[in-house]
Amino acid sequence: MFRFVTKRLLEIIPILFLVTIFIFLFVHLIPGDPARLVAGIDATNEDVEVVRKELGLDKPLHTQYFTYMGNLLQGDFGTSLKTKRPVIEEIGSRFMPTFWLTLWSMVWAVIVGLLIGAISATKRNKWQDYFGMFGAVSGLSMPSFWLGLMLIQIFAVTLGWLPTGGLDSWKSYILPAFTLGTGVAAVIARFTRSSLMDVLKEDYIRTGRSKGLTERKIVWGHGLRNAMIPVVTMTGLQFGFLLGGSVVIETVFSWPGVGKLLIDSVSYRDYPIIQTEMLLFAVEFILINLIVDLLYGILNPQIRYE
Protein backbone atom coordinates (compact mmCIF):
# COMPACT_ATOMS: atom_id res chain seq x y z
CA MET A 1 0.00 0.00 0.00
CA PHE A 2 2.81 2.39 0.90
CA ARG A 3 4.51 1.77 -2.44
CA PHE A 4 1.23 2.35 -4.26
CA VAL A 5 0.72 5.70 -2.53
CA THR A 6 4.28 6.82 -3.25
CA LYS A 7 4.00 5.76 -6.86
CA ARG A 8 0.79 7.74 -7.35
CA LEU A 9 2.27 10.78 -5.61
CA LEU A 10 5.34 10.67 -7.83
CA GLU A 11 3.18 10.42 -10.93
CA ILE A 12 1.47 13.68 -10.06
CA ILE A 13 4.66 15.75 -10.07
CA PRO A 14 5.33 15.81 -13.85
CA ILE A 15 1.67 16.57 -14.54
CA LEU A 16 1.65 19.43 -12.07
CA PHE A 17 4.85 20.71 -13.63
CA LEU A 18 3.32 20.67 -17.13
CA VAL A 19 0.12 22.27 -15.84
CA THR A 20 2.08 25.19 -14.36
CA ILE A 21 3.98 25.63 -17.66
CA PHE A 22 0.69 25.68 -19.54
CA ILE A 23 -0.78 28.23 -17.15
CA PHE A 24 2.38 30.32 -17.18
CA LEU A 25 2.37 30.42 -20.99
CA PHE A 26 -1.26 31.49 -20.86
CA VAL A 27 -0.39 35.19 -20.64
CA HIS A 28 1.93 34.86 -23.59
CA LEU A 29 -0.69 33.06 -25.66
CA ILE A 30 -3.19 35.89 -25.37
CA PRO A 31 -2.97 37.90 -28.59
CA GLY A 32 -1.44 41.29 -28.00
CA ASP A 33 1.09 42.61 -25.53
CA PRO A 34 0.51 41.52 -21.91
CA ALA A 35 2.25 44.63 -20.60
CA ARG A 36 -0.17 46.83 -22.55
CA LEU A 37 -3.06 44.80 -21.23
CA VAL A 38 -1.96 45.46 -17.65
CA ALA A 39 -1.16 49.12 -18.24
CA GLY A 40 -4.60 49.78 -19.73
CA ILE A 41 -5.78 51.23 -23.03
CA ASP A 42 -4.91 54.85 -22.22
CA ALA A 43 -1.32 54.12 -21.20
CA THR A 44 1.52 55.80 -23.08
CA ASN A 45 4.39 53.77 -24.50
CA GLU A 46 6.56 54.78 -21.53
CA ASP A 47 3.94 53.53 -19.08
CA VAL A 48 3.84 50.21 -20.89
CA GLU A 49 7.62 49.91 -20.66
CA VAL A 50 7.50 50.64 -16.92
CA VAL A 51 4.89 47.92 -16.44
CA ARG A 52 6.95 45.53 -18.56
CA LYS A 53 9.95 46.08 -16.26
CA GLU A 54 7.81 45.79 -13.14
CA LEU A 55 6.33 42.47 -14.18
CA GLY A 56 9.66 41.17 -15.45
CA LEU A 57 8.18 40.65 -18.92
CA ASP A 58 11.42 41.93 -20.48
CA LYS A 59 13.38 38.94 -19.15
CA PRO A 60 13.88 35.67 -21.04
CA LEU A 61 10.97 33.23 -20.90
CA HIS A 62 12.61 30.61 -18.68
CA THR A 63 13.67 33.26 -16.12
CA GLN A 64 10.09 34.49 -16.10
CA TYR A 65 8.88 30.95 -15.46
CA PHE A 66 11.23 30.49 -12.49
CA THR A 67 10.11 33.80 -11.03
CA TYR A 68 6.49 32.74 -11.54
CA MET A 69 7.06 29.38 -9.84
CA GLY A 70 9.01 31.02 -7.00
CA ASN A 71 6.13 33.41 -6.40
CA LEU A 72 3.58 30.58 -6.55
CA LEU A 73 5.47 28.56 -3.96
CA GLN A 74 5.54 31.60 -1.67
CA GLY A 75 1.79 32.01 -2.05
CA ASP A 76 2.07 35.10 -4.25
CA PHE A 77 -0.44 34.78 -7.08
CA GLY A 78 -0.24 38.35 -8.32
CA THR A 79 -2.73 41.21 -8.21
CA SER A 80 -6.14 41.44 -9.80
CA LEU A 81 -6.13 43.88 -12.71
CA LYS A 82 -9.67 44.92 -11.96
CA THR A 83 -9.73 45.45 -8.19
CA LYS A 84 -5.93 45.84 -7.64
CA ARG A 85 -6.27 43.51 -4.65
CA PRO A 86 -4.09 40.41 -4.24
CA VAL A 87 -5.52 37.45 -6.16
CA ILE A 88 -5.29 35.24 -3.10
CA GLU A 89 -7.69 37.54 -1.22
CA GLU A 90 -10.14 37.68 -4.11
CA ILE A 91 -10.22 33.91 -4.50
CA GLY A 92 -9.78 33.02 -0.82
CA SER A 93 -13.10 34.46 0.30
CA ARG A 94 -14.95 32.74 -2.55
CA PHE A 95 -13.40 29.31 -2.31
CA MET A 96 -15.48 27.78 0.45
CA PRO A 97 -18.93 28.50 -1.01
CA THR A 98 -17.87 26.71 -4.22
CA PHE A 99 -16.31 23.86 -2.27
CA TRP A 100 -19.48 23.22 -0.24
CA LEU A 101 -21.69 23.56 -3.28
CA THR A 102 -19.74 20.94 -5.24
CA LEU A 103 -19.53 18.67 -2.21
CA TRP A 104 -23.27 18.69 -1.50
CA SER A 105 -24.02 18.20 -5.17
CA MET A 106 -21.73 15.18 -5.19
CA VAL A 107 -23.24 13.70 -2.04
CA TRP A 108 -26.80 13.65 -3.34
CA ALA A 109 -25.73 12.68 -6.85
CA VAL A 110 -23.84 9.62 -5.58
CA ILE A 111 -26.65 8.46 -3.31
CA VAL A 112 -29.42 8.90 -5.87
CA GLY A 113 -27.26 7.68 -8.75
CA LEU A 114 -26.33 4.46 -6.95
CA LEU A 115 -29.94 3.86 -5.93
CA ILE A 116 -31.35 4.34 -9.44
CA GLY A 117 -28.55 2.29 -10.97
CA ALA A 118 -29.03 -0.59 -8.55
CA ILE A 119 -32.80 -0.64 -9.00
CA SER A 120 -32.45 -0.55 -12.80
CA ALA A 121 -29.94 -3.39 -12.79
CA THR A 122 -32.05 -5.66 -10.61
CA LYS A 123 -35.31 -4.86 -12.42
CA ARG A 124 -33.71 -5.23 -15.82
CA ASN A 125 -36.10 -4.56 -18.73
CA LYS A 126 -38.98 -3.84 -16.36
CA TRP A 127 -40.70 -0.48 -16.10
CA GLN A 128 -38.42 0.60 -13.22
CA ASP A 129 -35.41 0.06 -15.47
CA TYR A 130 -36.88 1.94 -18.44
CA PHE A 131 -38.04 4.75 -16.19
CA GLY A 132 -34.70 5.04 -14.39
CA MET A 133 -32.60 4.90 -17.54
CA PHE A 134 -34.77 7.32 -19.46
CA GLY A 135 -34.54 9.66 -16.49
CA ALA A 136 -30.77 9.27 -16.51
CA VAL A 137 -30.32 10.01 -20.20
CA SER A 138 -32.63 13.00 -19.81
CA GLY A 139 -30.57 14.27 -16.89
CA LEU A 140 -27.50 13.92 -19.05
CA SER A 141 -29.05 15.86 -21.92
CA MET A 142 -30.54 18.71 -19.94
CA PRO A 143 -28.80 22.09 -20.11
CA SER A 144 -28.02 22.74 -16.44
CA PHE A 145 -28.44 26.50 -16.75
CA TRP A 146 -31.93 25.99 -18.15
CA LEU A 147 -32.87 23.53 -15.41
CA GLY A 148 -31.61 26.03 -12.83
CA LEU A 149 -33.64 28.89 -14.30
CA MET A 150 -36.78 26.75 -14.47
CA LEU A 151 -36.34 25.65 -10.84
CA ILE A 152 -35.90 29.29 -9.82
CA GLN A 153 -39.08 30.13 -11.71
CA ILE A 154 -41.07 27.35 -9.98
CA PHE A 155 -39.68 27.16 -6.43
CA ALA A 156 -38.47 30.71 -5.86
CA VAL A 157 -40.62 32.99 -7.99
CA THR A 158 -43.97 31.19 -8.12
CA LEU A 159 -44.03 29.23 -4.87
CA GLY A 160 -41.64 31.43 -2.91
CA TRP A 161 -40.26 28.48 -0.93
CA LEU A 162 -36.60 28.97 -1.69
CA PRO A 163 -34.33 31.95 -2.41
CA THR A 164 -33.72 32.89 -6.07
CA GLY A 165 -29.96 33.09 -5.60
CA GLY A 166 -27.07 34.23 -3.44
CA LEU A 167 -25.92 32.50 -0.27
CA ASP A 168 -27.77 33.36 2.95
CA SER A 169 -28.72 30.14 4.68
CA TRP A 170 -28.77 26.37 4.15
CA LYS A 171 -31.86 26.87 1.99
CA SER A 172 -29.72 28.66 -0.56
CA TYR A 173 -27.91 25.40 -1.28
CA ILE A 174 -30.94 23.34 -2.29
CA LEU A 175 -31.62 24.58 -5.82
CA PRO A 176 -28.02 25.07 -7.00
CA ALA A 177 -26.85 21.75 -5.52
CA PHE A 178 -29.77 19.93 -7.08
CA THR A 179 -29.11 21.53 -10.48
CA LEU A 180 -25.38 20.94 -10.38
CA GLY A 181 -25.69 17.30 -9.30
CA THR A 182 -28.29 16.20 -11.86
CA GLY A 183 -25.87 15.37 -14.67
CA VAL A 184 -23.53 13.52 -12.34
CA ALA A 185 -26.36 11.52 -10.76
CA ALA A 186 -27.36 10.49 -14.30
CA VAL A 187 -23.85 9.32 -15.19
CA ILE A 188 -23.45 7.41 -11.93
CA ALA A 189 -26.86 5.73 -12.38
CA ARG A 190 -25.96 4.53 -15.89
CA PHE A 191 -22.56 3.37 -14.81
CA THR A 192 -23.78 1.58 -11.67
CA ARG A 193 -26.41 -0.25 -13.71
CA SER A 194 -23.94 -1.69 -16.20
CA SER A 195 -21.35 -2.45 -13.55
CA LEU A 196 -23.85 -4.18 -11.27
CA MET A 197 -25.28 -6.19 -14.17
CA ASP A 198 -21.79 -7.50 -14.92
CA VAL A 199 -21.18 -8.37 -11.29
CA LEU A 200 -24.50 -10.18 -10.92
CA LYS A 201 -23.34 -12.63 -13.60
CA GLU A 202 -20.32 -13.66 -11.52
CA ASP A 203 -19.88 -17.10 -9.98
CA TYR A 204 -19.80 -15.89 -6.39
CA ILE A 205 -23.28 -14.42 -6.84
CA ARG A 206 -24.50 -17.81 -8.00
CA THR A 207 -22.80 -19.33 -4.96
CA GLY A 208 -24.59 -16.83 -2.77
CA ARG A 209 -27.93 -17.69 -4.33
CA SER A 210 -27.36 -21.43 -4.05
CA LYS A 211 -26.57 -21.22 -0.37
CA GLY A 212 -29.89 -19.44 0.09
CA LEU A 213 -28.97 -15.84 0.74
CA THR A 214 -31.82 -13.39 0.41
CA GLU A 215 -31.94 -11.42 -2.83
CA ARG A 216 -31.52 -8.23 -0.86
CA LYS A 217 -28.30 -9.45 0.71
CA ILE A 218 -26.99 -10.60 -2.65
CA VAL A 219 -27.66 -7.30 -4.40
CA TRP A 220 -26.87 -4.79 -1.67
CA GLY A 221 -24.26 -6.79 0.21
CA HIS A 222 -22.22 -8.65 -2.37
CA GLY A 223 -23.26 -7.22 -5.70
CA LEU A 224 -23.21 -3.49 -5.11
CA ARG A 225 -20.06 -3.68 -3.04
CA ASN A 226 -18.13 -5.17 -5.91
CA ALA A 227 -19.90 -3.08 -8.51
CA MET A 228 -18.77 -0.01 -6.57
CA ILE A 229 -15.13 -0.40 -7.55
CA PRO A 230 -15.37 1.01 -11.09
CA VAL A 231 -18.08 3.41 -9.95
CA VAL A 232 -15.66 5.00 -7.48
CA THR A 233 -13.19 5.81 -10.26
CA MET A 234 -16.00 7.22 -12.35
CA THR A 235 -17.11 9.40 -9.45
CA GLY A 236 -13.65 10.92 -9.19
CA LEU A 237 -13.74 11.88 -12.85
CA GLN A 238 -17.24 13.27 -12.42
CA PHE A 239 -15.94 15.64 -9.79
CA GLY A 240 -14.27 17.40 -12.66
CA PHE A 241 -17.60 17.96 -14.34
CA LEU A 242 -18.94 19.38 -11.10
CA LEU A 243 -16.05 21.81 -10.84
CA GLY A 244 -16.61 22.88 -14.43
CA GLY A 245 -20.37 22.94 -14.04
CA SER A 246 -20.11 25.11 -10.95
CA VAL A 247 -18.93 27.92 -13.19
CA VAL A 248 -22.23 27.85 -15.08
CA ILE A 249 -24.46 27.21 -12.06
CA GLU A 250 -22.87 29.95 -9.98
CA THR A 251 -23.68 32.40 -12.75
CA VAL A 252 -27.32 31.26 -12.80
CA PHE A 253 -27.73 31.48 -9.02
CA SER A 254 -25.50 34.54 -8.42
CA TRP A 255 -23.44 32.33 -6.14
CA PRO A 256 -20.56 34.12 -4.37
CA GLY A 257 -18.03 31.51 -5.49
CA VAL A 258 -14.91 31.16 -7.61
CA GLY A 259 -16.85 30.04 -10.70
CA LYS A 260 -18.72 33.29 -11.03
CA LEU A 261 -15.50 35.18 -10.39
CA LEU A 262 -13.88 33.30 -13.28
CA ILE A 263 -16.58 34.31 -15.76
CA ASP A 264 -16.46 37.94 -14.61
CA SER A 265 -12.67 37.85 -14.99
CA VAL A 266 -12.80 36.40 -18.52
CA SER A 267 -14.89 39.30 -19.77
CA TYR A 268 -12.54 41.76 -18.03
CA ARG A 269 -9.43 39.83 -19.20
CA ASP A 270 -8.24 39.84 -15.60
CA TYR A 271 -5.61 37.24 -16.37
CA PRO A 272 -3.92 36.92 -12.93
CA ILE A 273 -7.31 35.73 -11.60
CA ILE A 274 -7.94 33.48 -14.62
CA GLN A 275 -4.50 31.90 -14.30
CA THR A 276 -4.84 31.27 -10.59
CA GLU A 277 -8.34 29.85 -10.97
CA MET A 278 -7.26 27.48 -13.73
CA LEU A 279 -4.42 26.33 -11.49
CA LEU A 280 -6.75 25.97 -8.52
CA PHE A 281 -9.28 23.89 -10.45
CA ALA A 282 -6.58 21.69 -11.97
CA VAL A 283 -4.87 21.06 -8.64
CA GLU A 284 -8.20 20.36 -6.95
CA PHE A 285 -9.14 17.91 -9.68
CA ILE A 286 -5.76 16.15 -9.55
CA LEU A 287 -5.95 15.86 -5.75
CA ILE A 288 -9.50 14.49 -5.82
CA ASN A 289 -8.46 11.86 -8.33
CA LEU A 290 -5.51 10.95 -6.12
CA ILE A 291 -7.85 10.46 -3.16
CA VAL A 292 -10.17 8.39 -5.35
CA ASP A 293 -7.27 6.21 -6.50
CA LEU A 294 -6.23 5.61 -2.93
CA LEU A 295 -9.81 4.73 -2.04
CA TYR A 296 -9.82 2.37 -4.99
CA GLY A 297 -6.74 0.70 -3.55
CA ILE A 298 -8.57 0.14 -0.30
CA LEU A 299 -11.68 -1.25 -2.01
CA ASN A 300 -9.79 -3.51 -4.37
CA PRO A 301 -6.98 -5.48 -2.71
CA GLN A 302 -5.62 -6.64 -6.09
CA ILE A 303 -4.37 -3.15 -6.91
CA ARG A 304 -2.11 -2.91 -3.89
CA TYR A 305 0.16 -5.73 -4.93
CA GLU A 306 0.79 -4.55 -8.47
Binding site: P14, I15, L18, V19, F22, F26, L29, I30, P31, V137, S138, L140, S141, M142, P143, S144, F145, W146, L147, L149, M150, I152, Q153, V157, F239, G240, F241, L243, G244, G245, V247, V248, T251, L262, I263, V266, S267, R269, Y271, I274, M278, F281, A282, F285, I286
Partner: protein
Protein backbone atom coordinates in the same frame (compact mmCIF):
# COMPACT_ATOMS: atom_id res chain seq x y z
CA UNK B 1 -10.29 -15.77 -67.39
CA UNK B 2 -11.67 -12.43 -66.38
CA UNK B 3 -15.14 -13.30 -67.61
CA UNK B 4 -15.04 -16.48 -65.72
CA UNK B 5 -14.21 -14.63 -62.55
CA UNK B 6 -17.10 -12.25 -63.01
CA UNK B 7 -19.42 -15.18 -63.67
CA UNK B 8 -18.26 -16.85 -60.54
CA UNK B 9 -18.82 -13.77 -58.48
CA UNK B 10 -22.35 -13.38 -59.77
CA UNK B 11 -22.91 -17.00 -59.01
CA UNK B 12 -21.74 -16.49 -55.44
CA UNK B 13 -23.84 -13.40 -55.01
CA UNK B 14 -26.91 -15.17 -56.27
CA UNK B 15 -26.24 -18.08 -54.00
CA UNK B 16 -25.62 -15.94 -50.98
CA UNK B 17 -28.79 -13.96 -51.57
CA UNK B 18 -31.04 -16.89 -52.18
CA UNK B 19 -29.88 -19.75 -50.08
CA UNK B 20 -27.51 -18.68 -47.34
CA UNK B 21 -28.26 -15.51 -45.42
CA UNK B 22 -24.79 -14.08 -45.04
CA UNK B 23 -24.28 -11.97 -41.93
CA UNK B 24 -22.19 -9.05 -43.09
CA UNK B 25 -21.15 -6.63 -40.34
CA UNK B 26 -23.51 -4.01 -41.77
CA UNK B 27 -26.58 -6.23 -41.91
CA UNK B 28 -25.76 -7.48 -38.44
CA UNK B 29 -25.47 -3.90 -37.21
CA UNK B 30 -28.73 -2.92 -38.86
CA UNK B 31 -30.53 -5.93 -37.39
CA UNK B 32 -29.43 -5.00 -33.88
CA UNK B 33 -29.95 -1.28 -34.33
CA UNK B 34 -33.47 -1.65 -35.75
CA UNK B 35 -34.60 -3.41 -32.58
CA UNK B 36 -33.96 -0.36 -30.48
CA UNK B 37 -37.02 1.72 -30.97
CA UNK B 38 -35.81 4.80 -29.09
CA UNK B 39 -32.56 4.91 -31.02
CA UNK B 40 -34.44 4.50 -34.28
CA UNK B 41 -36.79 7.36 -33.43
CA UNK B 42 -33.78 9.47 -32.45
CA UNK B 43 -32.13 8.65 -35.75
CA UNK B 44 -35.11 10.01 -37.66
CA UNK B 45 -35.28 13.01 -35.37
CA UNK B 46 -31.63 13.79 -36.07
CA UNK B 47 -32.37 13.55 -39.79
CA UNK B 48 -35.25 15.98 -39.25
CA UNK B 49 -32.92 18.35 -37.37
CA UNK B 50 -30.41 18.22 -40.21
CA UNK B 51 -33.19 19.06 -42.68
CA UNK B 52 -34.25 21.96 -40.47
CA UNK B 53 -30.67 23.16 -40.28
CA UNK B 54 -30.52 23.28 -44.08
CA UNK B 55 -33.94 24.64 -45.05
CA UNK B 56 -35.07 26.09 -41.69
CA UNK B 57 -33.97 29.70 -42.15
CA UNK B 58 -35.84 29.97 -45.49
CA UNK B 59 -39.15 28.50 -44.30
CA UNK B 60 -39.61 30.29 -40.97
CA UNK B 61 -42.86 32.30 -40.77
CA UNK B 62 -41.29 35.46 -39.27
CA UNK B 63 -38.20 37.56 -39.82
CA UNK B 64 -35.70 36.42 -37.16
CA UNK B 65 -33.79 39.62 -36.41
CA UNK B 66 -36.43 42.25 -37.24
CA UNK B 67 -37.93 43.74 -34.05
CA UNK B 68 -41.73 44.10 -33.77
CA UNK B 69 -42.46 46.61 -31.04
CA UNK B 70 -46.20 45.94 -31.08
CA UNK B 71 -45.64 42.38 -29.93
CA UNK B 72 -43.14 42.59 -27.10
CA UNK B 73 -42.93 39.58 -24.75
CA UNK B 74 -46.32 38.20 -25.75
CA UNK B 75 -46.99 34.66 -24.59
CA UNK B 76 -47.50 31.60 -26.79
CA UNK B 77 -50.50 32.03 -29.13
CA UNK B 78 -51.83 30.85 -32.48
CA UNK B 79 -49.74 33.47 -34.32
CA UNK B 80 -46.61 33.03 -32.21
CA UNK B 81 -46.38 29.38 -31.15
CA UNK B 82 -43.60 29.99 -28.66
CA UNK B 83 -44.42 33.64 -27.97
CA UNK B 84 -42.16 36.60 -28.68
CA UNK B 85 -39.06 37.95 -26.96
CA UNK B 86 -38.15 41.37 -25.58
CA UNK B 87 -37.85 42.78 -29.12
CA UNK B 88 -41.11 41.22 -30.29
CA UNK B 89 -39.28 38.64 -32.41
CA UNK B 90 -41.02 35.31 -32.95
CA UNK B 91 -39.26 32.77 -30.71
CA UNK B 92 -40.41 29.73 -32.69
CA UNK B 93 -38.88 31.11 -35.90
CA UNK B 94 -35.67 31.93 -34.10
CA UNK B 95 -35.41 28.45 -32.63
CA UNK B 96 -35.89 26.86 -36.07
CA UNK B 97 -33.29 29.20 -37.56
CA UNK B 98 -30.94 28.49 -34.66
CA UNK B 99 -30.86 24.73 -35.39
CA UNK B 100 -28.26 25.46 -38.02
CA UNK B 101 -25.92 27.12 -35.55
CA UNK B 102 -26.12 24.44 -32.86
CA UNK B 103 -25.72 21.52 -35.27
CA UNK B 104 -22.89 23.23 -37.11
CA UNK B 105 -21.00 24.00 -33.91
CA UNK B 106 -21.59 20.49 -32.58
CA UNK B 107 -20.60 18.66 -35.77
CA UNK B 108 -17.60 20.76 -36.75
CA UNK B 109 -16.07 20.94 -33.29
CA UNK B 110 -16.42 17.21 -32.68
CA UNK B 111 -15.16 16.44 -36.18
CA UNK B 112 -12.03 18.53 -35.56
CA UNK B 113 -11.59 16.93 -32.16
CA UNK B 114 -12.11 13.45 -33.57
CA UNK B 115 -9.60 13.91 -36.38
CA UNK B 116 -7.00 15.37 -34.05
CA UNK B 117 -7.64 12.80 -31.35
CA UNK B 118 -7.63 9.87 -33.78
CA UNK B 119 -4.30 10.85 -35.30
CA UNK B 120 -2.74 11.30 -31.86
CA UNK B 121 -4.36 8.14 -30.48
CA UNK B 122 -3.16 5.95 -33.37
CA UNK B 123 0.37 7.39 -33.25
CA UNK B 124 0.44 6.92 -29.51
CA UNK B 125 -0.89 3.37 -29.51
CA UNK B 126 0.94 2.17 -32.61
CA UNK B 127 4.41 3.57 -32.03
CA UNK B 128 4.39 3.37 -28.24
CA UNK B 129 7.59 4.31 -26.37
CA UNK B 130 8.39 8.04 -26.17
CA UNK B 131 5.73 9.00 -28.74
CA UNK B 132 3.13 7.42 -26.49
CA UNK B 133 4.53 9.05 -23.37
CA UNK B 134 4.67 12.54 -24.86
CA UNK B 135 1.17 12.37 -26.34
CA UNK B 136 -0.37 10.89 -23.21
CA UNK B 137 1.27 13.51 -20.98
CA UNK B 138 -0.18 16.28 -23.17
CA UNK B 139 -3.58 14.63 -22.85
CA UNK B 140 -3.17 14.40 -19.07
CA UNK B 141 -2.46 18.11 -18.90
CA UNK B 142 -5.45 18.98 -21.06
CA UNK B 143 -7.66 16.69 -19.01
CA UNK B 144 -6.41 18.25 -15.79
CA UNK B 145 -8.70 21.19 -16.58
CA UNK B 146 -12.00 19.50 -16.06
CA UNK B 147 -15.09 19.83 -18.23
CA UNK B 148 -15.96 23.21 -19.57
CA UNK B 149 -13.02 24.87 -17.77
CA UNK B 150 -10.54 24.06 -20.52
CA UNK B 151 -12.95 25.58 -23.03
CA UNK B 152 -13.31 28.69 -20.86
CA UNK B 153 -9.52 28.95 -20.57
CA UNK B 154 -9.16 28.75 -24.35
CA UNK B 155 -11.87 31.38 -24.83
CA UNK B 156 -10.00 33.55 -22.33
CA UNK B 157 -6.99 33.33 -24.64
CA UNK B 158 -8.77 33.63 -27.99
CA UNK B 159 -11.58 35.98 -26.94
CA UNK B 160 -15.35 35.39 -27.06
CA UNK B 161 -17.16 34.40 -30.26
CA UNK B 162 -18.75 31.40 -31.90
CA UNK B 163 -15.70 30.54 -34.03
CA UNK B 164 -13.53 30.40 -30.93
CA UNK B 165 -16.13 28.25 -29.19
CA UNK B 166 -15.72 25.70 -31.98
CA UNK B 167 -11.94 25.71 -31.51
CA UNK B 168 -12.29 25.47 -27.74
CA UNK B 169 -14.75 22.56 -27.84
CA UNK B 170 -12.59 20.81 -30.45
CA UNK B 171 -9.45 21.06 -28.33
CA UNK B 172 -11.36 19.83 -25.34
CA UNK B 173 -12.51 16.74 -27.29
CA UNK B 174 -9.02 15.85 -28.55
CA UNK B 175 -7.60 14.17 -25.42
CA UNK B 176 -10.72 12.05 -24.92
CA UNK B 177 -10.70 10.79 -28.51
CA UNK B 178 -6.96 10.24 -28.28
CA UNK B 179 -7.36 7.97 -25.25
CA UNK B 180 -10.21 5.95 -26.72
CA UNK B 181 -8.49 5.49 -30.08
CA UNK B 182 -5.21 4.64 -28.35
CA UNK B 183 -6.80 1.83 -26.39
CA UNK B 184 -8.52 0.35 -29.45
CA UNK B 185 -5.27 0.72 -31.41
CA UNK B 186 -3.48 -1.25 -28.73
CA UNK B 187 -5.99 -4.08 -28.93
CA UNK B 188 -5.98 -4.18 -32.76
CA UNK B 189 -2.19 -4.03 -32.79
CA UNK B 190 -1.90 -7.17 -30.70
CA UNK B 191 -4.14 -9.23 -32.99
CA UNK B 192 -2.75 -12.05 -35.08
CA UNK B 193 -3.58 -10.52 -38.46
CA UNK B 194 -1.59 -7.38 -37.75
CA UNK B 195 1.25 -9.57 -36.58
CA UNK B 196 0.97 -11.51 -39.87
CA UNK B 197 0.91 -8.33 -41.99
CA UNK B 198 4.02 -7.11 -40.21
CA UNK B 199 5.80 -10.40 -40.76
CA UNK B 200 5.29 -10.21 -44.54
CA UNK B 201 6.99 -6.82 -44.44
CA UNK B 202 4.14 -4.33 -44.79
CA UNK B 203 5.07 -0.70 -44.20
CA UNK B 204 3.84 1.16 -41.10
CA UNK B 205 1.73 3.45 -43.25
CA UNK B 206 -0.07 0.54 -44.84
CA UNK B 207 -0.64 -1.27 -41.56
CA UNK B 208 -2.06 1.86 -39.98
CA UNK B 209 -4.41 2.74 -42.84
CA UNK B 210 -5.50 -0.75 -43.86
CA UNK B 211 -5.70 -2.47 -40.50
CA UNK B 212 -5.38 -0.31 -37.41
CA UNK B 213 -7.63 2.58 -38.45
CA UNK B 214 -10.56 0.40 -39.65
CA UNK B 215 -10.32 -1.45 -36.35
CA UNK B 216 -10.84 1.71 -34.36
CA UNK B 217 -13.70 3.08 -36.46
CA UNK B 218 -16.59 1.60 -34.50
CA UNK B 219 -15.42 3.09 -31.22
CA UNK B 220 -14.87 6.42 -32.98
CA UNK B 221 -18.40 6.40 -34.45
CA UNK B 222 -20.05 5.66 -31.11
CA UNK B 223 -18.07 8.26 -29.27
CA UNK B 224 -18.50 10.78 -32.08
CA UNK B 225 -22.29 10.61 -31.80
CA UNK B 226 -22.27 10.83 -28.01
CA UNK B 227 -19.82 13.69 -28.10
CA UNK B 228 -22.00 15.80 -30.42
CA UNK B 229 -24.65 16.03 -27.71
CA UNK B 230 -22.22 17.24 -25.10
CA UNK B 231 -20.52 19.59 -27.59
CA UNK B 232 -23.88 21.23 -28.31
CA UNK B 233 -24.46 21.54 -24.56
CA UNK B 234 -21.01 23.01 -23.94
CA UNK B 235 -21.36 25.49 -26.79
CA UNK B 236 -24.80 26.55 -25.55
CA UNK B 237 -23.41 26.95 -22.01
CA UNK B 238 -20.60 29.14 -23.29
CA UNK B 239 -23.04 31.27 -25.26
CA UNK B 240 -25.25 31.47 -22.18
CA UNK B 241 -22.25 32.78 -20.23
CA UNK B 242 -21.74 35.43 -22.90
CA UNK B 243 -18.54 33.83 -24.23
CA UNK B 244 -19.97 32.37 -27.44
CA UNK B 245 -22.57 33.57 -29.93
CA UNK B 246 -23.53 37.20 -29.34
CA UNK B 247 -27.01 38.72 -29.72
CA UNK B 248 -28.92 39.09 -32.00
CA UNK B 249 -27.75 35.63 -33.15
CA UNK B 250 -30.56 33.06 -32.72
CA UNK B 251 -28.14 30.65 -31.01
CA UNK B 252 -30.19 28.79 -28.38
CA UNK B 253 -27.88 29.44 -25.42
CA UNK B 254 -27.67 33.14 -26.26
CA UNK B 255 -31.47 33.34 -26.64
CA UNK B 256 -31.89 31.73 -23.25
CA UNK B 257 -29.45 34.13 -21.69
CA UNK B 258 -31.36 37.04 -23.22
CA UNK B 259 -34.55 35.81 -21.55
CA UNK B 260 -33.09 35.76 -18.04
CA UNK B 261 -34.08 39.36 -17.31
CA UNK B 262 -37.73 38.58 -18.03
CA UNK B 263 -37.91 35.31 -16.12
CA UNK B 264 -40.47 36.66 -13.63
CA UNK B 265 -42.92 37.98 -16.17
CA UNK B 266 -42.23 35.97 -19.33
CA UNK B 267 -40.70 32.57 -18.56
CA UNK B 268 -41.53 31.36 -22.08
CA UNK B 269 -38.56 33.34 -23.45
CA UNK B 270 -36.17 31.02 -21.59
CA UNK B 271 -38.35 27.92 -21.61
CA UNK B 272 -38.54 27.19 -25.35
CA UNK B 273 -34.87 27.58 -26.34
CA UNK B 274 -34.02 25.30 -23.41
CA UNK B 275 -36.44 22.66 -24.67
CA UNK B 276 -34.81 22.89 -28.10
CA UNK B 277 -31.35 22.26 -26.62
CA UNK B 278 -32.67 19.46 -24.43
CA UNK B 279 -34.49 17.58 -27.19
CA UNK B 280 -31.57 17.91 -29.61
CA UNK B 281 -28.97 16.69 -27.13
CA UNK B 282 -31.30 13.90 -25.97
CA UNK B 283 -31.69 12.69 -29.57
CA UNK B 284 -27.92 12.53 -30.08
CA UNK B 285 -27.39 10.76 -26.76
CA UNK B 286 -30.09 8.15 -27.44
CA UNK B 287 -28.70 7.62 -30.93
CA UNK B 288 -25.23 7.19 -29.45
CA UNK B 289 -26.54 4.64 -26.92
CA UNK B 290 -28.23 2.71 -29.72
CA UNK B 291 -25.11 2.72 -31.88
CA UNK B 292 -23.03 1.52 -28.96
CA UNK B 293 -25.37 -1.35 -28.21
CA UNK B 294 -25.52 -2.32 -31.89
CA UNK B 295 -21.76 -2.07 -32.51
CA UNK B 296 -20.46 -3.57 -29.31
CA UNK B 297 -20.13 -7.33 -29.80
CA UNK B 298 -19.96 -7.87 -26.05
CA UNK B 299 -23.53 -6.73 -25.54
CA UNK B 300 -25.95 -9.59 -26.07
CA UNK B 301 -29.61 -9.21 -26.74
Amino acid sequence: MKELQIDRREEYERLSLETVKVKTPISEFWRKFRKQKLALVSFFFVLFLITMAIIGPSIVPYEITEPDYDNILSGPSAEHWAGTDAFGRDIFSRIIAGTQISLFVGLVSVLLGAVGGTVLGILSGYYGKWVDRVIMRICDVLLAFPGILLAIGIIAILGPGLGNVIVAVAIFSIPIFARIVRSSTLSVKSTLFVEATKSVGAKHNRIIWKHIFPGTVSSIIVYFTMRIGSAILTAASLSFLGLGAQPPSPEWGAMLSGGRDYLNTSPHVTFFPGIAIFVTVLAFNLLGDGLRDALDPKIEE
